[in-house]
Symmetry: C2
Subunit: 238 residues, 2 copies
DNA sequence: AAGTGGTCTAGACCACCGG
DNA sequence: CGGTGGTCTAGACCACTTA
């Protein structure tokens, strides 16, 4: 935990406790620097975090205003992105179960080779999981990962959290992801496992996720029941 | 244009010109600082930009690797977000036309009052536009904006770019937006204007956009033909 | 052990906003 | 005009990777 992260956390807490009130201005950066006993650049970095998370908005020559937007909830925050669905659901006190539909190893097709930067001889895991939240089918996930990068996957890991395994057990650092979100028609799999009607729309999130070392480690299609889940994001800049 | 933005642009150009080659490491930050005659913190900020845009990825103790991911194209870059659809399409040399379906003023309903933080007596514009790209119906946009914040809207502005008007003519600064993306069924409007079939899915992007001063200035629903357009994003962190 | 990027300092200058 | 946040410097220390 760096200084600017700690300070951001403290200020955030003050906003939530109404020590700093919505619609008013934060103390200026110099005063905050004095209070926390750090340089102003460190305060600036802390405020940048709060900006990205939508808590405040700064204007040069004016100050930093405290925002309050009722429709933002925790799972919107970009912070929670890479802890995986398991973590998100736990935080909302919702029960998640993962049913393994299939779990195989194969050589990658051409399209997968391109997306995951693989040769035809590098095997991949092909995983299909049904994520069930509070006993309702929620998301059907088709996931492909290179075996050499994510070795020793087991049923137990798949039933828990792959993301936890990658970051904590393998110690790999996630850089981010490319996503494409589409509306499509339900296919046979969706009808069978998500219990969709044949005429139902499906929200499909196609994702390629990357490690810090530049290698893509996941290519996935998440198919979401249209009446159960949307994709939500908060996109704030300086 | 700040120093770190200029430097980021130069390095980006070198990557695109293969002066710095994909898969190799960037010169270290101290060397770059010497070369550009700036302090290392400035180089660090420049590299942060390139990281967010997906060009490089840094690892402490190792270096900054140059990435190249074939599926990323310009309209994925977060930079182009707030120049509006008109600008994006122009960059891709695609022709965009906007047909005004309706353009009215009214008092806001309860839900709109909440989203846009308005009293019942503050009037709003209610705009419905059909965006036509290369002569095909593309997106049906339902937009609501407070009259006091975005005054003097005209048909001419609506046919061009509202975002250009807000930023350049009114001089307002955009902070960001909250979005929720869903798959839904086509409704009567979609069938009539997007020329959907009644059984077609529709990709709906609900958005509340905010100014730096904290006020929401736009509540919109963009309804996209499912076979014409997806929502794409690149989400990279440090 | 040598080299890397991440953080942090204590200043400074400047662009911008408000009255 | 005074006060604000954005940028920038020339150092420094530290965490981390690779060998």
């Amino acid at each position: 935990m760096t200084k600017y992260e700690s300070i951001a956390a403290v200020i955030k807490q003050r906003i939530q406790d109404n020590v700093y009130q919505t619609g008013t201005l934060l103390p200026n950066q110099s005063d905050l620097a004095s209070e926390f006993g750090v340089s102003r650049m460190t305060i600036n970095k802390a405020i940048n975090i709060l900006t990205m998370e939508g808590f405040v908005s700064s204007q040069r020559g004016f100050g930093t205003k405290i925002l309050n937007h009722p429709l933002w909830n925790k799972d919107v925050s970009p912070v929670n992105e890479y802890r995986g669905l398991s973590f998100q659901m736990a935080e909302q006190h919702r029960q998640i179960k993962s049913q393994i539909i299939s779990f195989e190893v194969a050589f990658p097709e051409k399209k997968i080779q391109e997306r995951l930067m693989l040769t035809p001889q590098q095997p991949v895991y092909q995983i299909v999981r049904l994520r069930i939240v509070d006993d309702d089918p929620f998301i059907l996930e088709h996931t492909i990962m290179p075996v050499d990068l994510i070795p020793n996957l087991t049923d137990d890991i798949l039933k828990e959290s792959i993301y936890h395994y990658i970051q904590f057990d393998l110690g790999l650092q996630i850089a981010g992801a490319y996503r494409n979100i589409q509306a499509t028609r339900a296919d046979e799999f969706d009808i069978k496992y998500l219990q969709c009607q044949p005429t139902d729309p499906v929200l499909e999130v196609e994702q390629v996720a990357y490690l810090k070392n530049g290698r893509p480690f996941e290519y996935s299609h998440s198919r979401n029941r249209f009446d159960k889940r949307g994709y939500t994001e908060l996109d704030m800049r300086n």
